[in-house]
């Protein structure tokens, strides 16, 4: 505290004035102290709508009970959301301006590239829209968690979450196995390379990513023969199980890919654990980390 309320040493006649002054001072202090907080946290949003599967998950983790009104329909798809089990508690939205308008949200959170037409319409209609860029590193993840916490008035929870994430990452880094390569290989032969969250997760597990070794930025096609010739020690498999077949998944039954699977160790990393940034990325990193240790354990006997 300041010396504003210094003890009254003045005699009785000045007592009334002093008391009055002191009261004023206290009020001013209170104002000065609480004013910035009231601006920020006076009204944490009460009707939050999230339109993107990644913001959905951060919001579900950080929002206070009753604060989050709706999440996107993808949030309840176990193929893309790590929190699919919790999503049905909220109303689903499909990224349509009309349905979101009718929900009367006081805050709309979404991804930078999510249904841009609907988002710009909501902005025109005067809704408060906050856009989140997708994460390509753990720094981005920390930033997004803290920003979500600030928007929802849940800074403490956000800080705790970042702390948990960092502790997990440190633990993984402490006993990493060196010099193993992992390839991510998805439908249509797509893989992830430099500047992708997958790459960050792979590095967190102490591995190196084949996609970036062959010069892929973000995500791109990894030709099957490049995969075969590189023969990574670990291949992540998240063979999607859709209700119907498509050519996009034919690469998984190609004899050359099957031959890779015979030689490399497969790590089944559910896609939902590293599509979006969040504490669930640790699950993906842990699976890769365990696979690396299994490969190292297999190698040792042959080295002797």
């Amino acid at each position: 505290m300041s010396d504003c309320g210094s003890p009254a040493i003045s005699p009785a006649p000045a007592g009334i004035v002093m008391r009055w002054l002191r009261r004023l001072c206290a009020a001013a202090l209170a104002l000065a102290f609480f004013a910035p907080l009231t601006v920020l946290a006076e009204k944490p949003p009460r009707r939050v709508v999230s339109m993107n599967v990644c913001t959905d998950q951060l919001a579900m983790l950080l929002a206070a009970p009753g604060q989050l009104l709706s999440v996107s329909f993808l949030a309840s798809d176990p193929g893309s959301s790590a929190l699919a089990a919790q999503a049905p508690r909220y109303r689903p939205n499909h990224g349509l301006a009309e349905e979101i308008f009718l929900m009367e949200p006081d805050l709309v959170i979404t991804g930078t590239y999510t249904t841009q037409v609907a988002v710009s319409m909501l902005e025109r209609l005067g809704f408060r829209v906050e856009k989140f860029a997708f994460e390509t590193s753990f720094d981005d993840v920390r930033k997004n968690i803290r920003r979500m916490g600030a928007l929802l008035g849940q800074e403490q929870r956000a800080d705790d979450m970042v702390e948990t994430l960092d502790a997990g990452l440190q633990q993984l880094a402490a006993n990493a196995v060196a010099e193993l390569t992992v390839a991510t290989y998805a439908s249509n032969s797509y893989t992830t390379g430099r500047n992708s969250l997958s790459e960050a997760v792979i590095e967190a597990a102490g591995l190196s990513n084949l996609g970036s070794e062959v010069g892929i930025e973000g995500s791109g096609r990894l030709p099957l023969e490049v995969l075969v010739l590189a023969m990574p020690q670990i291949v992540t498999s998240d063979t999607p199980t859709y209700d119907a077949p498509a050519l996009a998944q034919e690469n998984f039954v190609h004899p050359a890919y099957q031959a890779v699977l015979e030689r490399a160790r497969t790590a089944s990393v559910p896609a939902a654990n590293w599509i979006c940034g969040g504490p669930f990325n640790l699950v993906a990193a842990q699976i890769l980390h365990d696979a690396a240790h299994a490969v190292a354990a297999q190698r040792e006997p042959t080295d002797k």
């Binding site: 249509n188 030709p223 490049v226 010739l229 859709y242 190609h254």
Partner: protein
Amino acid sequence: MRRLPYIVLLALLTLLVAVTFVLSLLIGPSDLGMIDSFHALFSTETSIGSMVMYEIRLPRAVLGLMIGITLGLSGAVLQGFLRNPLAEPGILGISSAAALGAVLALYTGLSALFPLALPLAGLAGAFVAVLLIRAMAGANGGTLTLILAGVAVSAFAGAMSTLVLNLSPNPFAAMEILFWMLGSLTDRSMTHVWLAGPFMIVGWIMLASLARPLDTLTLGPDAAATMGINVGRLQALAVFGTAASVGAAVSVTGAIGFVGLVVPHVLRPLVGSIPSRLLPASALGGAAVLLTSDILVRVIAPGRDLKLGVLTAMVGAPFFLWLVYRSRRNEL
């Protein structure tokens, strides 16, 4: 200018096919060198390099060869049989109908349970289209009738394929309409060769047996009939041969247009417009064109999975316009 002797032409085309086939084996996204590739191809031990050659590049080259032969041969036979310069599996809608059959078999999961369903469904689609075209065009079908029927069949089959793909619960299916309309040989495996190959070979035999009768048919169906040609049998062979070879080809690589149109036209003056000479030349020419296109696809846009039909249409569509222009001038 004197024409090349026929045997020299065939030899040159064979050489071209052989060169493009070998080039196709040597070109790939990885930096597997030429010598390593050859070594891997002929070594008996199973190395990683030989796996790349046998499981990835060889099926691609073999399918390119076989589908090129199919398109060149069927184009030449259809043009002779329908006595129409614009006849071709792609333009007549036979490829689209075959693609519809294959799409139905693949995306409903039928071909996963019973792999032969894929080429058989493609064959059935092609068969229906050929019959329909034949019925529409009549015995002396004019160019216009035939092309209109082809446009209709093609549009309908394409729309139905798109509908099936859009209704599929698999989120990737809708994007695959590109594959079925433009065709690709990327990451096809020996499984596809074994599935489609036998049907294509049976189709070729049927089509090749038409060489002599087609010579006679150039005199007109009535004259051919009086000269002892069984027109009904000829028709059956043309229909089944086209359906079997084109249906099987499309069911594993999608519809690849214009090869069947351009190749017979380019080669016809070189063989003196004799169908029996055109058929073998056109088959070889088709193979050379398709293998070249597939090499260019990999060279122009490596890693982008450019579709084959993009290249064949880039060459074929201007050629088609030129054909239209020439036929208009002749009518005047």
